[in-house]
Amino acid sequence: MAIRGRSRLSDVVSKHEAAILTDWIKEQLAAVKAADRIGEAELRTECARFLTLLKVALRSDGSHDVSSAAWSETRELLGELSRSRARAGYSPSETAAFVLSLKRPLFDRLRGEIGGDADALADEVWQTTLVLDRLALFTTELHQKSRDEIILRQQQDMLELSTPVVQLWESILALPLIGTLDSARTQVVMENLLQRIVETGASIAIIDITGVPTVDTLVAQHLLKTVAAARLMGADCIISGIRPQIAQTIVHLGVELSSVITKATLADAFVIALQRTGATIGRATKA
C-alpha cells in the first residue's frame, strides 16, 4: 500500500497529546485494573513517556516500520515494561493491552481532525492499527521471552536445591533424591556425591529414591553409573527406598541391580551401613 511521506497521525498526536494521554489512562484503568498492581502515578509516567517517544518516532519515520532505528527508543521502553510486567505476574494479553488500549483515543482524535474525509480517515486508521499491532506483538514476544528466562532460572535454582548430601554418621553419607532424574540434574547429583565422599572420607553412601516417582531404564542407568563411580573412589553405595511397585517394575524392565545392595527403607540401609563400619546400635541397659 502506498505510504505517504508524513502521516497525519504524527500531527494529531502532537496536537492532542495531553487529551490522548488522559483518555488512554482512563481506558487502561477501566479495562485492566492496572491500578491494582502498579500505581496510577506510575502508569501515567509510563504512558507519557511512551506517547513522547511515539510522537518522535512517527515524525522521523514515515514508513511505520517499528523494527527500524527510529523506533529503537520506543522498543526499549516497551521491552522494559514487558519485562517488569512479566515479573509482576501480568498475562501476555494484559501486557499487550498497554499498547492496544491506545487505539480508541487515537481513533477518536483522528476522527475529530479528518472525519470529513472518509478515505483519508480509513487510511490513517489502517496505518495506526498497523503500527500499534506491531508494537503490541512486540510486547507479547518480549513478555514470553521474559517468562522463559524466569522459568529457566527457576529450573537452575531447583538443580542446586534438590540435591543435598547429608552426613548420617561418621563415614556414612545419605543422598535423598526427590523428583524427576533427568540427565542435567543427575549430573549435579553425581558430582555432589563424589565431592562429598572426598571431603568426608566416607566409606558408605546411601542413595534414597523414596522421592523418585518413576524409575525407568535411564534413571536406573544413572544410578548404576553413580554407584560405579563411588566405588572407584573407595565408597560402597546402598540404594534404599525401593517400594513394591518400583521393585516389580524394575524386574519387568530387566534391569540388573543385583550388584548393588538395595533396601526397602532408609532405616534398613542405615543399619546395614552402621554394621559395615563397625558401629552397633543397642538400647542402653539400666545399671
Partner: protein, 132 residues
C-alpha cells in the same frame, strides 16, 4: 478429561508431562499402584525412544472401555529413520543410543498388548495397552 488426547513429544520436558498425564489417566481408570507404575514407566521408555531415536513425535492416550474391562492405550509415533530390524531392537541389551538396551523390550513386558510398526525412512509407531 477427554477420553482421547494427543500430546507432543519433542523435548525431555515433554516426557515429564507424558508421565504425569498417563499417571492421572491411570488413576482415573482405577489402576492400582503397581499397574500405574508399570504403565507410567513404559510410557517414559517409549517417549524417550520417540525423542532419542525418532527425533520427536507425538503420544496419543486413549481410555478404553471394553465391556466390563477398562484400560489405557498409548500410541507413540514418530517420523524418524525407522527401525531396520525390529526383532533385534526388541532384544534385551541391544542398544544404539548408549542406554541399557532395555527400554523397548521392557515396555513390552510392562504392558498387556504391544504392537510395533516401523519402516526404514518412514518412522515408527508403538502401541501399548494395559488392562485393569
Amino acid at each position: 478429561m477427554p477420553d482421547d488426547e494427543t500430546l507432543p513429544v519433542r523435548s525431555s520436558n515433554d516426557i515429564v508431562v507424558v508421565r504425569q498425564v498417563v499417571r492421572m489417566r491411570a488413576v482415573e481408570i482405577g489402576f492400582n499402584l503397581v499397574e500405574q507404575t508399570k504403565i507410567v514407566t513404559a510410557a517414559s521408555e517409549l517417549a524417550r525412544n520417540t525423542i532419542d531415536h525418532g527425533g520427536g513425535g507425538s503420544a496419543r492416550l486413549q481410555s478404553l472401555r471394553n465391556g466390563g474391562r477398562a484400560g489405557l492405550r498409548l500410541t507413540f509415533e514418530d517420523k524418524g529413520p525407522g527401525i531396520p530390524d525390529i526383532e533385534l531392537a526388541l532384544k534385551d541389551g541391544y542398544t544404539t543410543g548408549g542406554g541399557l538396551g532395555l527400554g523397548l523390550s521392557g515396555a513390552r513386558r510392562l504392558s498387556n498388548e504391544f504392537e510395533i510398526q516401523s519402516r526404514p525412512g518412514e518412522g515408527t509407531r508403538v502401541t501399548i495397552t494395559r488392562w485393569k
